[in-house]
C-alpha cells in the first residue's frame, strides 16, 4: 500500500464527560473513496472537524502524506490540500458562483485580477471533472445540487487534493446524488482522495472503495467495501443485529378519515407552494408523500394541522370540515384526534430549553388531566412523562433532564410518545427519522406500523425514499406543489425518482 494520504494516529477528543472520539486510528489511501459511516453522535463529524481544524484533538497525531502536521484552523488544512464540503453549505447566497469561489482567496484589494484568474481556473476544472456550472449565476438561484457543486469547486480552487464530504446527499434527489457520485468517481480517477461521511449504507456500498465504521466515538472496523455487506455494516454501526426493513402485513384500509380537496397554500412571500392538492387517507393505512425537500410537503402538512393558513381548498377530518383557510386552531384539532409530529423537532415539536416532562405535554397542556384549575398538576405530568419514557425506551430515563441533552433519536421519541399516547385517529408525521440513528429508526418504524394496524390513518412525509417505500401502503409523489403520481408500495426507486424530479410531469405538460 502506498503512503497514506491521511493518517490519524490515536486521536482523542472529549467534550466534558463525553468521549466524542476515543483513540481513533485511521489510514486513508491516496486516490480512493473512503467512506466513514456511523450513527448520529458516533463522532464522524467531530473527527472530520478535527481534521479540518474546527476542533483541536486532545491528543493524537495527524499525518498528511506521511508528515506529521498540526492543524489549528481551517486555513492550515487548506494549506496542506484538505478541502471540505459541509452538510450545510457555506455559500453567500446573493453572490455569484465566481464571487463565492474566490471568497477568502481574493488575493489583492482590487478583485479584477483574481476574478479573471478564477474564471480561467473554473473553466479548467469544469473540463477536467465535468463540473459544469455557470460562473456568473447567483448562488441562491441555483438548484441545491449545483450549489453543492460550487462548494466542491471552492475546495478544488484552493488546491484540495483530499476532499471531505459531510452527508452530501441529504438534500439531493436520487438523480442529483447519482450525478454527484459520478463526479466523485471522476475526481478519484484524477488522483484525488475523497472521504465520504454518511449514515446511509446504500451510498457506502455504491461508491466507496474502503469503509470505516464508527460507534460511540470509537473506530470499530475498517472493511474493503467489496468484501462486506449492508447487514454486516449495520450490525457494526449499531452493535447488534437490526432489521433494515420493518416487517408488516397487508393494510386493511377502511373509510376515509382525512380528505384533502383542492388545497392551495402560499408561503409568506406569496409563492404558491401547494397547488390544488387532493387526496384521502383512510383508517388503517399509511399514505406516504415522497418528494425532494422544498416541493410543498412541509406547507401541505402545516396547512392540514392548522399551523399555516391555506388560500383555498378544504380538509375534512372524520366527516367534519377543518377551517384550513381561516384560523384553524392546532389545539382544537388535537381535541378532534389529529396528532402531528412536525418536521422540525428542534424549533417546532419541542422546546429544547424545557425539561423532558414539560415537552411531554406540549400541545396537550390544557387537557384536564394535567391541570388543577389554573395550575399545572406537576405530579400527573411527571408520572405521564415517566410512563412514556418507559414505553418508548427514551434514554436517559430522566424526565427532569433538559430536552437539549437528549440525542436526536430520543428527542424524536419524546414527540412520538406524546402524539401517539393521546390515541389520535389521524397521525401526521413529518420526517420521523431525520437525523435519527439506525436503532431508533427501527423502533419508530415499528411504532408507525403498529398505529396503522390499530386502525389509525397515518400520513407520512419524508425525503428518505427508503422510508417512504418501507412504510407506505400508497405513495403519492409531490413535485412543485402538485401531486404528480400515485404508486403502490412496490414502486421502484427509479420510477419514484423520476417522478420526484418532475420528469414525467414535465413530459405530460408538453
Amino acid at each position: 500500500m502506498a503512503e497514506a494520504a491521511i493518517e490519524l494516529v490515536g486521536i482523542n477528543k472529549s467534550f466534558g464527560a463525553v468521549w466524542a472520539n476515543r483513540d481513533i486510528n485511521l489510514q486513508i489511501a491516496p486516490g480512493t473513496i473512503h467512506g466513514i459511516i456511523g450513527e448520529n453522535g458516533a463522532g464522524k463529524s467531530t473527527l472530520m472537524s478535527i481534521l479540518y481544524g474546527f476542533y483541536q484533538a486532545d491528543s493524537g497525531e495527524i499525518r498528511v502524506g506521511g508528515k506529521p502536521i498540526s492543524i489549528k484552523a481551517p486555513n492550515d488544512a487548506i494549506a496542506v490540500g484538505i478541502g471540505m464540503v459541509h452538510q450545510h453549505f457555506m455559500l453567500v447566497e446573493n453572490f455569484t458562483v465566481l464571487e463565492n469561489v474566490i471568497l477568502g482567496a481574493e488575493g489583492e484589494a482590487l478583485l479584477k485580477n483574481s476574478i479573471a484568474k478564477a474564471r480561467s481556473e473554473l473553466q479548467r476544472l469544469e473540463k477536467e471533472y465535468g463540473l459544469e456550472v455557470d460562473p456568473d449565476a447567483i448562488v441562491e438561484e441555483l438548484p441545491v445540487g449545483l450549489q453543492q457543486r460550487v462548494e466542491i469547486l471552492k475546495a478544488l480552487y484552493r488546491g484540495a487534493e483530499i476532499l471531505i464530504l459531510d452527508e452530501p446527499t441529504g438534500v439531493l434527489t436520487p438523480a442529483e446524488a447519482d450525478h454527484l457520485f459520478r463526479i466523485l468517481q471522476q475526481l478519484r480517477e484524477q488522483g484525488k482522495t475523497i472521504v465520504l461521511i454518511t449514515h446511509k449504507l446504500r451510498e457506502i456500498m455504491a461508491i466507496t472503495d474502503t469503509v470505516s465504521v464508527m460507534r460511540q466515538g470509537t473506530m470499530v472496523a475498517t472493511r474493503e467495501t467489496a468484501k462486506t455487506t449492508v447487514e454486516e455494516l449495520a450490525e457494526l454501526m449499531v452493535g447488534r443485529r437490526v432489521l433494515l426493513r420493518v416487517e408488516k402485513g397487508a393494510a386493511k384500509p377502511e373509510r376515509a378519515k382525512l380528505s384533502v380537496k383542492d388545497l392551495t397554500v402560499r408561503d409568506s412571500r406569496g409563492v404558491t407552494m401547494v397547488d390544488g392538492v387532493s387526496f384521502d387517507v383512510r383508517a388503517g393505512e399509511i399514505v406516504g408523500i415522497a418528494g425532494v425537500a422544498g416541493n410543498g410537503q412541509s406547507e401541505l402538512i402545516e396547512a392540514i394541522c392548522g399551523v399555516r393558513c391555506a388560500v383555498s381548498g378544504s380538509v375534512v377530518l372524520d366527516g367534519e370540515p377543518i377551517d384550513v383557510t381561516g384560523i384553524a386552531d392546532p389545539g382544537e384539532l388535537r381535541d378532534r384526534g389529529l396528532a402531528h409530529v412536525p418536521e422540525d423537532r428542534h424549533h417546532v415539536g419541542l422546546v429544547l430549553a424545557f425539561e423532558e416532562n414539560e415537552n411531554a405535554i406540549l400541545g396537550y397542556h390544557d387537557k384536564g388531566e394535567y391541570l388543577k384549575g389554573p395550575f399545572l398538576d406537576i405530579d400527573a405530568i411527571r408520572d405521564d412523562a415517566r410512563t412514556m419514557i418507559e414505553r418508548y425506551d427514551i434514554r436517559p430515563g430522566d424526565c427532569r433532564l433538559k430536552t437539549a441533552n437528549f440525542s436526536g433519536g430520543n428527542q424524536q421519541k419524546i414527540i412520538l410518545a406524546r402524539e401517539m399516547e393521546q390515541d389520535p385517529g389521524v397521525l401526521i408525521v413529518g420526517q420521523p427519522t431525520r437525523g435519527v440513528d439506525v436503532g431508533a429508526i427501527e423502533f419508530i418504524h415499528k411504532r408507525l406500523i403498529a398505529m396503522r394496524d390499530q386502525g389509525k390513518a397515518v400520513l407520512l412525509i419524508s425525503v428518505e425514499l427508503d422510508e417512504i417505500r418501507a412504510l407506505s401502503d400508497r405513495i403519492l409523489v409531490m413535485f412543485a406543489g402538485r401531486i404528480v403520481g400515485e404508486r403502490g408500495p412496490d414502486a421502484t426507486e427509479g420510477e419514484l425518482g423520476l417522478l420526484m424530479a418532475g420528469i414525467e410531469h414535465r413530459e405530460a405538460a408538453e
Partner: protein, 379 residues
C-alpha cells in the same frame, strides 16, 4: 454533530458567576475612585457601612430594594415571553395615578387595610393598561415592543406632569404635587421588624410594601413555573413556532404577559407614594424602572435571584448616597458611574466570563458539567 451542551452546576451558575461579575465591577469602580484620589478600600467600607451599618441604613436599603423587586419582576415576566419591556419606568410612573385616585378618594372614609388592597388594584390596573397599548401594537401590528415601550415612558412622564400641574394639584398650591394623604392612606412602617433585632430605624420609610414585594415575588414564581399560563408564556418565549404548533395564541400571550408586566411595574408606585411621601410628586420613580432591567438580568429572571439583586441595588443606592456625603471628592455622579459599572458587568455583560468558566470546569472535572452521559448510546 451538534456542539455538546455544557451545563454548569447550579451554584456556579447562580452563585459564582454573579459574584465574579460583581467583583470585576467593583474593581473597575475602585479604579474610578483611585482616579479622583481617594482610597477604594475606604470608599467600599463607607458604602457598605452606609447601606448596612445601622438600623436606619438597613431600612433605607430595603426601602429602595422594594422598588427594584417590583420593577425587576416586571422586566423578568416579559423576558420569559422573550419581550423586552423597557417601559417599566413609565408604567410605574403612571401607576402612581392609580394609587393617587384610590388614596385621594378614600382616605377620609376607609381604614388603611381597605385602602391598601384597593390601591394595589388601582396601581396594577393603570400600569397594566399602560402596557396594553404597546402590547397590542406588538401583537397585532408588529410594532417593536422596545421602541413603543420606551416612547410610552415619555408619554407617561408628560401625562403625569400635566395631571400634577393642572388637575391633581390642590388649588392655591405652588408645588406640582397632590395634596398630602391623610393617615388612613399611609402604609404602616416596618421599623418594628428591625427593632426586634435591637436596631433603631428612626424615620426610615421601610413599610409593608416590602412584604408585599416578597409575596408578589413568590406569586410570580408560581405563575411562571406552576401554572398553565406560565407554561404558555415560557413556550412562547423559547419558541414562537412551538407555541403555534401547540395551539397557543401569540396575540393573547403577548398581551397578557405585557399586562402582567405593566401591573408589576405599576405596583412599584405603592412604596414611595403610600409608604414614604404620602403624596404623588413629580418624578417619584427616579429611574427604578430602568434599574429593574439590570435587576432582572442579574437575577436571571428568577424571583429567587431578583430579590437579592434588588437588595444589592438598594445597597448601591443607599450606600452610594452615604458615600457621596462622607467623601466629598466622590460626587453623586461618581455613584451613578459605579452603579452603571455594576449594571454593565452584572447585567449587560452577564455572559462575558461564562465561556471561560465553562471551559475551566469542563477541564477540571468533566463530571461536574453534567453532560448527557448516555449521548450516542442506545437510540
Amino acid at each position: 454533530m451538534s456542539r455538546p451542551y455544557a451545563k454548569l452546576p447550579g451554584w456556579v451558575d447562580y452563585g459564582l458567576i454573579p459574584i465574579i461579575n460583581l467583583l470585576v465591577a467593583f474593581v473597575f469602580a475602585g479604579l474610578v475612585v483611585l482616579l479622583v484620589g481617594e482610597s477604594p478600600l475606604h470608599a467600599a467600607a463607607v458604602l457598605v457601612e452606609g447601606a448596612f451599618g445601622n438600623g436606619q441604613n438597613i431600612a433605607y436599603t430595603l426601602f429602595y430594594a422594594t422598588n427594584f423587586i417590583f420593577t425587576g419582576l416586571a422586566v423578568a415576566v416579559a423576558f420569559h415571553c422573550s419581550l423586552f419591556n423597557i417601559g417599566g419606568e413609565g408604567q410605574a410612573y403612571i401607576g402612581g395615578l392609580g394609587v393617587a385616585i384610590v388614596c385621594l378618594a378614600f382616605d377620609r372614609i376607609l381604614p388603611w387595610w381597605l385602602i391598601f388592597p384597593l390601591a394595589i388594584l388601582g396601581s396594577a390596573a393603570v400600569g397594566a393598561l399602560w402596557a396594553l397599548i404597546p402590547a397590542y401594537l406588538q401583537a397585532k401590528r408588529g410594532s417593536h415592543i422596545v421602541i413603543t415601550t420606551i416612547m410610552f415612558n415619555f408619554i407617561a412622564a408628560s401625562v403625569m406632569v400635566y395631571l400634577l400641574v393642572d388637575v391633581l394639584k390642590p388649588a392655591g398650591s405652588m408645588a406640582p404635587q397632590t395634596r398630602d394623604f391623610l393617615p388612613n392612606a399611609q402604609l404602616p412602617k416596618m421599623g418594628w421588624m428591625l427593632e426586634a433585632f435591637g436596631l433603631s430605624v428612626r424615620s426610615a420609610p421601610l413599610n409593608i410594601s416590602f412584604l408585599l414585594a416578597l409575596v408578589v415575588a413568590f406569586l410570580i414564581w408560581v405563575l411562571i413555573w406552576r401554572t398553565k399560563l406560565g407554561y404558555e408564556i415560557r413556550t412562547m418565549g423559547f419558541s414562537p413556532k412551538a407555541a403555534r404548533y401547540a395551539g397557543i395564541s401569540e396575540t393573547r400571550i403577548i398581551i397578557i404577559t405585557m399586562m402582567i408586566s405593566g401591573a408589576l411595574a405599576g405596583m412599584m408606585a405603592l412604596n414611595p407614594i403610600m409608604g414614604d411621601q404620602h403624596r404623588v410628586q413629580l418624578d417619584f420613580v427616579t429611574g427604578a424602572g430602568f434599574v429593574g432591567i439590570a435587576v432582572a438580568l442579574m437575577g436571571r429572571s428568577h424571583p429567587a435571584g431578583i430579590v437579592p439583586a434588588a437588595i444589592l441595588f438598594g445597597m448601591l443606592y443607599q450606600g452610594g448616597a452615604e458615600l457621596a456625603f462622607e467623601m466629598p471628592a466622590i460626587s453623586r455622579d461618581m455613584i451613578v458611574i459605579i452603579q452603571g459599572l455594576v449594571i454593565l458587568f452584572a447585567g449587560a455583560l452577564e455572559n462575558m466570563f461564562r465561556p471561560t468558566i465553562q471551559t475551566i470546569f469542563a477541564s477540571l472535572s468533566p463530571r461536574s458539567v453534567g453532560l448527557a452521559a448516555a449521548k450516542g448510546e442506545g437510540a
